[in-house]
Point group: C2
Chain length 225, copies 2
DNA sequence: TTATGTGAAACCGTTCACAGCT
DNA sequence: AGCTGTGAACGGTTTCACATAA
C-alpha cells in the first residue's frame, strides 16, 4: 500500500480542502461522485485514491466526512508540526511569509534567511531575518522540516545544498532553475514564468484543456544508472 | 505543431530556460543528452519533445542553440505580447506584480484589479488599481490575455466568471479552490497549501520510491517530530 | 563515430464495469 | 436500492533500441 502516485498525493490535498469545507458546513457524509464533481475528476479515481488509505467508505452511504478528513490528514502527515524556513527575503519571500497557505494546518514559518546585510537583522512581522551562514543552527533550533527557496535563480542551487546539509529534506523552489538534490531530498517547483508560458501556449492554440500543474518533483538526479 | 501533451509543454518551457542560459554562455550547440541531464529527464524524452516542433537537430552534433530557442519560442507563442491582469491586490498580488517571472518574455502586468475601496485608486509601482466592475473596459483597453487570480478562495469563482465574460481565456489561479471555467478557457492552479502538504507527505514517507518525472523518491529519513 | 528521430515496447495512471456490502 | 472497492481494459507517456544521417 505504500507508494501513492505523486499525482494522487496532490489530489489527496485537494480532497482534504473539500472535506474541510464540508465539515464546516456540517455535512455528515460525502459520496465519491460528489467529491469528484466538486473537483472535476472521475468518481472512480476518487474511490481508488481514497481506498489507498484503507477502506473507510460505507457502501450505500458514502464516506464519513470527519473520519475521512482525519484519515487524509494522517496520510499527508498533517497531524504533525512542519516548521518552515524561507530563504530569500525579497518581495516574494515576504509575501509567502505572510501568506495564508503558509501558516495553517501545522505549517509555521519559523525562520527567514537571507544574505543581504541590509535585510539580515531586520524583522518581517515578528520574525528576525537571519544569515544563511547560520542555517545549521537555525534548522537545529527550530526543527525546520521544509525549506522554501525564494532567491534569484543564480543562488538557488547553492541554497539547496546548504539546506540539505543542514538536514532539511523537503524543498519548495520558486526560483526559475532546475535543482540537483541529494538522495532523500524531495523538491517541488513553482515557476511563475513556466506557468505563464504554458498558458501562452494554450491561449495561442485555442485548446482549453484542463491541466492542473500537479506534478510531483522527486528528489535527486545524480549519476547515470 | 498541434497537440503537444500538457506535460510536454511544461518541459518545453524548461528547455527554453536552459537554452536561454546556453545562449548567454555562447554555447553554439547542445545535445539532447546534455539538455536532459541539466533537467533531470530522459534524453529520449527530450528528443521526442523537440521533434514535435519539427526536425531541427543535426545528427552527430546536436541542436543549434539559437535556432532551437527560436523554435521553442514560436511553439510557446512567446513571439507575441501577452498582457496580464492581476485580480486581487493583497500581499501575493503585489509580490507577483513586481516579480521577475511576470515581467519578461512578452508578459507584462498591464492592470491591477481589486474590490476593496481602500485599495482601488491606489498605485502599485506605476500601475493604478482599478475596480473589478471595470474589468470589461480594462480588458478591452489593455488587450488582456491572461488573468491572475490572487484573491481569497471565496471570491475566486466569481472573479473567474468575470474574467471569462470579459474575454480572458487563460487564467492562473493562486486561490485555494477548484474553479469551474467555461469551454475555451484554460486554467492552471498554483496552490501553496497543496505544495506544502505534498512535501509533508514525501517528507514523512521518505522511504523507497523511484525517480521519475512524477514519482516520489527514495528518502532515507523520517519526518519531523 | 556521434547524435538525432522514431517505431515499438514497457510502464503507469485512469476509467470502466460490476461484484459485494450495508 | 445505493455506493464502495477493485480486477481488468484502456489510453497515453516514457523509454528502449536502432535505423539513419552528418
Amino acid at each position: 500500500m505504500r507508494g501513492i502516485p505523486g499525482v494522487a498525493v496532490v489530489r489527496l490535498a485537494a480532497y482534504r480542502r473539500e472535506l474541510a469545507d464540508l465539515l464546516r458546513r456540517e455535512e455528515a457524509t460525502v459520496s465519491s461522485s460528489e467529491l469528484a464533481s466538486r473537483l472535476g475528476v472521475n468518481a472512480a479515481t476518487v474511490r481508488r485514491d481514497l481506498s489507498r488509505l484503507g477502506s473507510y467508505g460505507l457502501r450505500g452511504t458514502g464516506y464519513d466526512v470527519a473520519h475521512l478528513l482525519a484519515r487524509v490528514d494522517a496520510a499527508l502527515a498533517l497531524d504533525r508540526d512542519w516548521p518552515v524556513a524561507i530563504v530569500g527575503v525579497g518581495n516574494l519571500g515576504r509575501a509567502l511569509a505572510g501568506s495564508r497557505g503558509f501558516t495553517s494546518d501545522g505549517f509555521r514559518v519559523v525562520a527567514l534567511v537571507d544574505v543581504d546585510p541590509r535585510v539580515v537583522g531586520s524583522r518581517v512581522g515578528t520574525t528576525l531575518v537571519e544569515h544563511l551562514d547560520d542555517l545549521p543552527a537555525i534548522v537545529a533550533r527550530e526543527h525546520v522540516a521544509i525549506g522554501i527557496v525564494a532567491t534569484p535563480a543564480s543562488a538557488a542551487q547553492h541554497v539547496v545544498w546548504r539546506l540539505a546539509e543542514a538536514g532539511v529534506r523537503s524543498i519548495l523552489n520558486f526560483a526559475p532553475a532546475h535543482l540537483e538534490v541529494p538522495e532523500g531530498v524531495a523538491v517541488r517547483h513553482v515557476d511563475l514564468a513556466v506557468e505563464l508560458q504554458v498558458l501562452a501556449y494554450f491561449g495561442a492554440h485555442g485548446e482549453a484543456r484542463r491541466l492542473d500543474r500537479s506534478r510531483p518533483r522527486p528528489a535527486a538526479a545524480a549519476g547515470p544508472r
